[in-house]
Subunit: 591 residues, 2 copies
């Protein structure tokens, strides 16, 4: 299985669809020229393709084992992780105070995508650690920061997020894990958590669990949840791992995919109480936990993009090599890439991958604007644009991951259904991403109920206006290679504007808005993704890039063959909601 | 996991969307009243739910084992098969001359769907045997019929289809398996075949392989392929299995799904030549093999419908039981079915399942018209309608199987990704159906290149006119419960007519037609599926059925939320083809 890290293409996407050039004009990324970013990405790409990709298939076959509370990860996993951490990759985003490199979110996002390209199951571990670093940087006491952050940033210790319990998944108000005050400022944690990614493993010397639990006097619901840091080993005074804490891995899930990533049931306090330390204020744990939500959701969106990238490369290589059937102008059996129907699948894979990548990168650059712009008004506006784009990046990116992986199986035909080719693994791995870190349904609801109203609708109107600008520039370019791309993109944006206005109407009922959330998010993804590809094609044209016509062809394919779904989605949003409720609908489900 | 065989609903679909009532008016099915059909289906449903469904999950976990050339199927598999055969289920479709019941194709199709509902991996075995029975009934010598058909019809022996070789999948012209004339009228077969479903197993006393191979003097390509019957055990004079033939199972595939079904590599002639007997004429094997293509493709489409049915029941039960989050007017955590976004997923599952079922059943009834109508002109017209509908039934049905199973995983959330719930198994099992029995791409090409031209386009125009009639009757009914269903269905039919006319234009290039084949098939599926649901709702209304409003609600949901994709698909067909070819597109794939 050949995989090359598409670093140049990723950088091009970041500069153009992502808007890195534009952000530079605003003074961002001043200390980081494109050569430096390219050098970082080249090195990350070399690690992803050289160290991680070769482990991916074997890690899936071998999976993880639990024996006597200890989890063994697949052969090679621990060594690769240690080399990865030793190279400093865990500190890309973290601040310099604790040994991080303090690089922009955009650079971190692209390295994160590269780890997932190499192995999604492997890349999950640093993703969780990064979330904990952010939560601790923002909310932990100086004492906790001093004890934990250096180790986490270095990656010698890893971290986990403990939210889910059997009865509390998307609905954290229902969680029951308990925390008692110990009297010495620490706490004792009791309870069981499920679906804890890398909750136990053999890759690092300590594991730091961030755990949501309730104090005895906590109010009900989500306003009564506190966040605790619970280390596997309590650190000694010299910072080395000391006494074993009362937290154990009680089980491993047998999953559809990401077999290399141990998904643990964690039992806290079965031996008298796990020692925990409060992060942030009591009862305010959910807010702390959601500090890192934007980055985490962006990174999960990029997992979808990353698996889509791998599946696309994999299917393309096979389609050039596998010969079946006659194609026009070819003697003898033709490589299946020559068949129009196979080519449609491959172009769909390529175009969806690039489109969702463009959306993710744009969100990353907006996050950086929000972090770094000095003008607070501009920073807030950028932060809001990021907040609007994040649920689209997460849900569209992960849906694309599944769709592209499934098309990859189809391109392989019967060989795609056989595990040895690896095509099926991409589908199995990708399938979790629309579920975790907030299901894609929840992303859609977030987009419609919390993001459309930002700044009275000014934020979404601004984003759509930007997309309109892209379509206009394409129309002005009036290049034959674009075909009807500008026109089709305009159609998609008309549909998006109509649906946005409909959802934003002051008298719109909550039930109607919720009913249309998922098709609306898809519509937004198609419009924004279509614009991202057109923007890349325009940029290539402007700079006289040798691949300008190829980029135009990809943008055209997307606009003419995929973005054309936009109007149907808008109709479903605006006219389909009544079909989702009422007694007859209940009866329809019972038919 | 609760599963009930939805027999009443299936019969209702057969009578209405399938057109059983209409066919009765033409004199068909005269000896078979609905009570009799219902009784057959009830009994089949009891077997599917009582005997097969309980084996499905365990069969997946256990899988098949190959040791010393012998394949062991999962525990319980062999016993269930033998009881199934003893009950006479293998003889539903076969003629009475060899012990079959000679029932209509429609009845066989529904029983076949029920076996796949119980366990798709199990139901595959009889599906292959049935194909062999049809080929032998039509093309075998009286001697071969006498020696093999009674056993196959009884199900004491099973059968396989041996087409694929490593270099010859969709392209059978490339196959290399060799047949030599033995001089005594028999042949010796040499070569290796892959992906042979139930090529070896422990469920029946003999296995009859139908094998495509080339004679030494065969012309190249598909016109040089002959069909041979190669039994695992050569029958003794008394009909019992005798000498072991020179065919062995050389390997089992490790697959994404249908683990209960052994997928074998079969080696012929490694010990001097497998004894084979010609079926039909030399060099005419492909035609013989494709005798049963319509039934086999219909049955595979129904595998998709069947898995969709199982996944839908499974997700609905969970969505009523799992409580998360607040919903309008509900105190405390609400069952997730109350959330509009979850309800959209469940309605999509329910509606796609019912729509694809309606298309399959319509195809089955047209096949019966083709078999039984005395007026040869009418019979031919019906046969052509069936031929037109079969690729849609196969590809739309199996795509729906995957989509619905994937939605089922999503409804289960994190629990859907964990194998113990079984939601993921439905997705893994369903994923093969768009690949085998002619990939869905090949179905789409068949539809566009061979079926649209039937009777100079009269056939497709007639089918679309029928669908128009349904939309008109819905408009006339003018019932509030239909919402905009009639209008949306008309929109979809406009799109279908436009795309059909475009594809059928005399100057349409083959490359353009092929490029649009897949979106065109989807468009046809949405239009025909939407009409099927409306037809069922109208029938329920006419007969004063208590569930008439529920059926209207389902038809409305489909029309307003799913069929609205039709115009975008038509645009892709008619205006998207240029985006699929040319040097820039090649370069786009290489980006």
């Amino acid at each position: 299985m050949t995989y090359r890290a598409p670093v140049a293409d990723m950088l091009f996407a970041l500069e153009n669809a992502g808007g890195l050039w534009a952000a530079r004009d605003e003074g961002l990324y001043a200390e980081l020229d494109s050569e430096t970013i390219a050098a970082i990405l080249e090195e990350a790409g070399a690690f992803a393709s050289g160290e991680l990709a070769p482990l991916n298939l074997a890690g899936d076959r071998e999976g993880c084992r639990l024996e006597g509370g200890a989890v063994t990860t697949p052969a090679g996993w621990a060594g690769a992780y240690q080399r990865w951490a030793a190279a400093g990759w865990n500190g890309v985003l973290a601040g310099e105070a604790h040994g991080g490199q303090g690089l922009p979110t955009a650079v971190w996002a692209l390295t994160s995508e590269l780890w997932s390209q190499g192995s999604m199951a492997f890349g999950l571990c640093p993703l969780l650690t990064q979330g904990a670093i952010e939560a601790l940087e923002r909310h932990a006491s100086d004492e906790l920061k001093a004890a934990y952050l250096d180790k986490l940033v270095a990656g010698t210790w890893t971290a986990t997020m403990n939210l889910t319990e059997p009865q509390a998944g998307s609905d954290l108000a229902l969680l029951r894990a308990r925390a008692d005050r110990a009297g010495d400022g620490s706490y004792r944690i009791f309870g069981s958590k499920i679906f804890i990614t890398y909750g136990e493993h053999d890759m690092a010397e300590n594991i730091v669990h961030l755990v949501l639990a309730r104090l005895p006097d906590a109010p009900e619901g989500t306003r009564g949840i506190s966040l605790f840091l619970v280390p596997k080993f309590l650190p000694n005074a010299d910072g080395t791992p000391g006494e074993r804490n009362d937290v154990v891995c009680a089980g491993l899930e047998e999953k559809l995919g990401i077999h290399g990533s141990p998904t643990c049931t964690m039992a806290y306090g079965e031996g008298g109480g796990a020692v925990g330390f409060l992060v942030g204020e009591e009862h305010r744990g959910l807010a702390c936990m959601f500090t890192m939500m934007n980055n985490a959701r962006l990174a999960v969106g990029l997992q979808g993009v990353a698996v889509a990238e791998r599946a696309t490369q994999h299917a393309l290589a096979y389609a050039h090599e596998r010969r079946q059937g006659k194609a026009a102008d070819e003697p003898g059996p033709a490589p299946i890439v020559a068949h129009p129907d196979v080519r449609r699948m491959l172009l769909t894979m390529k175009a969806l991958t690039a489109a969702s990548r463009g959306i993710c990168y744009r969100a990353a650059v907006e996050l950086d604007r929000g972090r770094f712009l000095e003008n607070t008004g501009e920073a807030k506006a950028a932060q809001e644009r990021a907040s609007l784009l994040i649920p689209i990046a997460k849900a569209f990116g992960t849906d694309v991951g599944c769709e592209v992986a499934s098309l990859g199986v189809q391109v392989f035909g019967g060989m795609g259904f056989v595990e040895e080719t690896g095509a099926a693994q991409f589908l199995r791995d990708a399938r979790i991403a629309p579920i975790y870190e907030g299901t894609n349904g929840i992303q859609a609801i977030d987009l419609v109920t919390r993001k459309l109203p930002l700044s009275g609708g000014e934020t979404v109107r601004g984003v759509i206006a930007d997309l309109r600008g892209v379509a206009s520039r394409a129309a002005e370019a009036n290049a034959p290679g674009f075909g009807a791309a500008a026109h089709r993109l305009d159609d998609a944006l008309d549909a998006l504007e109509d649906a946005t206005a409909w959802l934003s109407a002051p008298d719109r009922s909550s039930a109607h808005a919720l009913a249309g959330a998922t098709p609306y998010l898809r519509l937004f993804g198609l419009a924004a993704g279509g614009a991202a590809l057109v923007e890349e094609a325009l940029a290539a044209r402007r700079s006289g890039d040798a691949r300008a016509e190829a980029r135009a062809a990809l943008a055209r394919f997307f606009a003419e063959n995929l973005a054309v779904a936009a109007r149907g989605l808008a109709t479903s949003v605006m006219e389909g909601a009544d079909a989702l409720s009422g007694a007859d609908v209940e009866a329809a489900l019972a038919l």
